[in-house]
Subunit: 447 residues, 2 copies
């Protein structure tokens, strides 16, 4: 049996040990770059795979197979010596003893890199957490995929028009990239895929609602992009409500702050994220649960503890409100921190972080996207979609995944079809709107 109080077995080494918590974009880039001639490196992650989060919505809407957007962590570092992976959930940092506590035991560090990312932010509302569908991990995506397909299997059974309509209504909260992409993908399912699978249903009745609290979509991008996204989504008949907030969801009906009610069994929660800060450090964390770091990613007041990516809150020139919680920030911070640690011996002065914003994008349906490059070039439509696909293929971890994903996209593109419409969780017999299993963020169960 695993003893949580024992030390995790790792080869003895003369080298100082860096423990990295989290194999997301930031952790992965740090690990690629860190010099394991100088350090022994241990990666801890609760999953044994990296998740390519920007494409999770494709899994949730049956466009890609889950394995295509996830890469085994061990495989990524097969040829890296002095590298160790341990599948573990970190519960606490003990900085006095220089160790972290996990579900499989304790582990000592000389340097600690916190790259534990972010969690869905339900803003303290238990009802939303229990009854809505978040989209941060592979199991979330599989769960949403099963829900969507089960809804239609149930809809064909209904004689009551209202019950049927409720199963065919989808409410997405949050008009950021994830919300926009889910809405677009659902629109595509409605238009091209589901009518063929469900000839008995009138798919015109399927209604997609996108609710955004701010006054326009894609608040983090330009107004141009927000407007383009609005325009493209309208072509899929998405009902867009801006400046409105979801007040409650009882599993059957969503109520907005202006009293409007939408009957639905499926509320997709894309309304925000918060840092996944681990307890134990005696410093103030930010209200959104992130570690305050300086320009070198060092956690304030802790000399050998660093944080990168979504869990790090760094204010610097040009970013008085902090950096956006985006993959490129995490990647660049991981790169910088590794390079600084690599030059520690040489006594070179450390370089401070300066974010290179190469652009942001969001895709809507099978051939539309909005793209902003280098803060200057903004464009939409098919060219933006091509750029989007190209960038995602370049970024994705594994060569093999690239082939699979490209093959899937080509297939979808030419056939208007989607490959993976499989429900692989038990058919839900209980009352509408209840998910089959309560999922907490920390121990996400399975699709």
């Amino acid at each position: 049996m695993v003893n949580e109080n024992e030390e995790i077995k790792i080869s003895q080494s003369e080298l100082p040990r860096i423990v990295v918590v989290g194999g997301g974009f930031g952790g992965l880039r740090f690990l690629k770059k860190i010099d394991t001639n100088q350090y022994q490196v241990v990666l801890l992650d609760r999953y044994n795979y990296h998740t390519f989060q920007p494409l999770l919505y494709q899994v949730a809407t049956a466009g890609l197979e889950p394995d295509s957007i996830a890469g085994p962590l061990r495989k990524s570092f097969q040829n890296k010596k002095n590298f160790y992976f341990r599948m573990a959930t970190v519960s606490c940092i003990n900085s006095d003893k220089q160790e972290v506590e996990t579900n499989i035991g304790r582990i000592k560090y000389d340097q600690l890199v916190l790259a534990c990312g972010s969690l869905t932010n339900f803003f303290g509302n238990d009802e939303f957490e229990e009854k809505s569908f978040p989209l941060k991990q592979v199991p979330h995506a599989l769960n949403l995929r099963s829900q969507i397909l089960q809804n239609f299997e149930k809809a064909v059974l209904k004689t009551d028009e209202n019950e049927m309509q409720r199963l065919m209504n989808y409410v997405i909260v949050g008009g950021g990239p994830t919300g926009v992409e889910v809405a677009g993908a659902l629109g595509e399912l409605k238009k091209h895929v589901l009518p063929k699978d469900f000839p008995e249903l009138n798919l015109n009745k399927m209604q997609i609602y996108l609710i955004e609290g701010q006054e326009r979509l894609l608040g983090a991008m330009s107004e141009f992009s927000g407007n383009k996204a609005f325009e493209y989504l309208k072509k899929f008949d998405v009902n867009i409500y801006v400046g409105k907030i979801v007040k409650s969801f009882d599993g059957e009906t969503v109520t907005l702050n202006d009293g409007m009610q939408i009957p639905t069994e499926t509320l997709v929660w894309a309304a925000g994220v918060k840092g996944n800060a681990i307890s134990g450090l005696t410093l103030d964390i930010t209200p959104d649960n992130r570690f305050k770091v300086d320009d070198y990613c060092q956690v304030v007041d802790y000399e050998n503890v660093y944080a990168i990516g979504d869990v790090a809150s760094m204010f610097s020139e040009g970013y008085p409100k902090g950096h956006p919680m985006l993959a490129p920030v995490a990647i660049q911070q991981g790169e910088l921190l590794a390079s600084n640690l690599n030059s520690l011996k040489k006594n070179k002065p450390w370089k401070s972080f300066s974010y290179q914003d190469k652009g942001t994008m969001a895709t809507i349906g099978r051939n539309k996207a909005v793209t902003e490059l280098l803060g200057k070039f903004k464009f939409g439509g098919f060219m933006a979609w091509l750029t989007w696909m190209f960038v995602h293929l370049i970024l994705i971890v594994e060569f093999r995944s690239k082939i699979v994903i490209f093959g899937n996209w080509l297939w979808n593109y030419f056939t208007y079809d989607r490959g993976t419409r499989l429900i692989i969780r038990p058919f839900v017999k209980n009352k509408a709107g209840k998910k089959p299993k309560k999922e907490s963020q920390e121990e996400v169960l399975v699709a």
Copy 2:
């Protein structure tokens, strides 16, 4: 809410209604062939997808993604009019009322086709059913895949040699095609894949045991094939014990009938199947839970009830012990029954079933197989493997799956790599050998 006592909603039709239970090989072929100008056809299945069972072992050993070997049932019949699919678990047949009872309601039939396949046969042993890993459905395969990968994640944590060895021992019961294929695929993982992922472990310690009660492997095939399979598996250092029976498994140790003990957490159960006969018909079913049918697949004493495939027990010339429970039998019975029902109106005499045995095969590792064609040609080695791959690609349901599978195989072939080493179920914290969740055959939970 679904009312189990209400009738399932299906469009009214003048045509007689055929209800088909089960979308496996037999049901699928029947549906392709049945003339829906003459009949309204309703397919019931507890999953919304067809499973290509011969390749389940590839999913279980991380060679293929689950979605590659499963095809959405609705998609298969998109262009078939008067076809209806309902995702439902059938609980009972009420032949007096000519209806079946399901978890989503009752449904009337004019003709009933039982194509409900087979279940893993634990021969009444609850311990095996609870603690071993069967391999009949996609969730089973995902469960076994997670177990195998978790074992190695746990093994790297162990300081106790015995505990580590137990995690690296695999016992497979049953030397038929499934057992042989799993053993070969595990041998391949041991030789080519795992050493790269787990450089800390001495993979020579991984031991694969294949236990067969009869005196040789592949009892349903020729002695030539049995011997070849034995020879190929020996090259993967598989420990083969024939003429031995597994007596007990407490989750930590397998005990054989001669007293031999093997410490392991993973017992793969490939020792046999039994029919999945549904209750309600007042006739004797066979000891292995199948419906007795005549040469026309008609269930004995029931004029408008038919059974095909694994759930049908048919004795005929050349098969005094009944037909083997194999996909080709199910496919040919489905084809014949559909053609007989199609000619019902024309008053043509019905054709009786005559099994065309085109051959059987089993594969061992990435480029070895044994193949027997037309009862005459027996060969092994690479040519047999090529034949095996070709036949499986031809048989597989969907064009898209073919591309994905072929791509995966090519990739594995040239890289000695396997793509899908993801654990997507919760990390098991409880005591060794306990599966995270009891799975009954009827309500298989999730990987």
